[in-house]
């Protein structure tokens, strides 16, 4: 079974600074997708960024980018120019051939002035 590990329960970043959230996963599959979702206090799960495993190029979405290391099974999220609205729980998720999302335990990101 696939597992997703987020080793940072909480992180803090100052406004306008850069922060990196870590995620590792374990799988024997070669074709899969990785995601970062954001869950603010409103509890809505919002897709932040998506990476296809067969693509070597790291995905980017505006201030959000990933560092995807397939051999190391690592998928970190970098948030640049952090804003107060970035404060939320961030979940890393894996989707393989079974089309089922497996989530990590989450990282709570605080953004300070």
């Amino acid at each position: 079974a696939q597992t997703v590990t987020q080793s940072q329960p909480e992180m803090s970043v100052q406004e306008a600074e850069t922060v990196t959230l870590s995620c590792t996963y374990d799988t024997s599959e070669s074709d899969y997708y990785l995601f970062w979702y954001k869950q603010p206090p409103s509890r809505q799960m919002i897709l932040v960024i998506r990476q296809e495993a067969y693509k070597q190029q790291n995905a980017t979405e505006n201030r959000f980018s990933v560092n995807f290391q397939k051999a190391a099974k690592s998928f970190s999220l970098k948030i640049s120019d952090s804003q107060l609205g970035d404060a939320a729980m961030y979940f890393c998720a894996y989707d393989g051939t079974a089309s089922k999302l497996t989530f990590g335990t989450g990282t709570r990101l605080q953004v300070t002035l």
């Binding site: 509890r43 799960m45 897709l47 296809e52 989707d95 989530f103 335990t105």
Partner: protein
């Protein structure tokens, strides 16, 4: 992406009762998913609902406790039956849409916060 609504947004229920949660999506989808998020925890998949067939339940979840209906391609319901305080959670539905060559990205509804007294 997808526009997904859930009703109710929150509810407080007495133990032993049942609650049905509705999930409506803005266009037809093949698969709909139901998740549970216990307080302070991550999301756990309850079941996958395909239109016209029985839902597929994950280990630890049974149809008698969480019956699911999928009457058409835009709607599904999840019932939490014979509730106990341990059922207090956020329940989320999601649908799968494609950004690449297949439907491969899940989009979530706003969730239903259930409290069982």
């Amino acid at each position: 992406s997808a526009v997904i609504s859930q009703k109710p947004s929150r509810d407080i229920c007495q133990r032993g009762t049942s609650l049905t949660i509705q999930c409506q999506v803005d266009s037809q989808v093949t698969m709909m998913f139901w998740y549970r998020q216990q307080p302070g925890q991550s999301l756990t998949l309850i079941a996958t609902a395909n239109q016209g067939s029985e839902a597929t339940y994950e280990s630890g979840f049974v149809i008698d406790k969480f019956p699911i209906s999928r009457p058409n391609l835009t709607f599904s319901t999840l019932t939490v039956s014979n509730m106990s305080p341990e059922d207090s959670s956020i329940y989320l539905c999601s649908v799968e849409r494609g950004q690449g060559t297949r439907a491969d990205t899940q989009y979530f509804g706003p969730g239903t916060r259930l409290t069982v007294l």
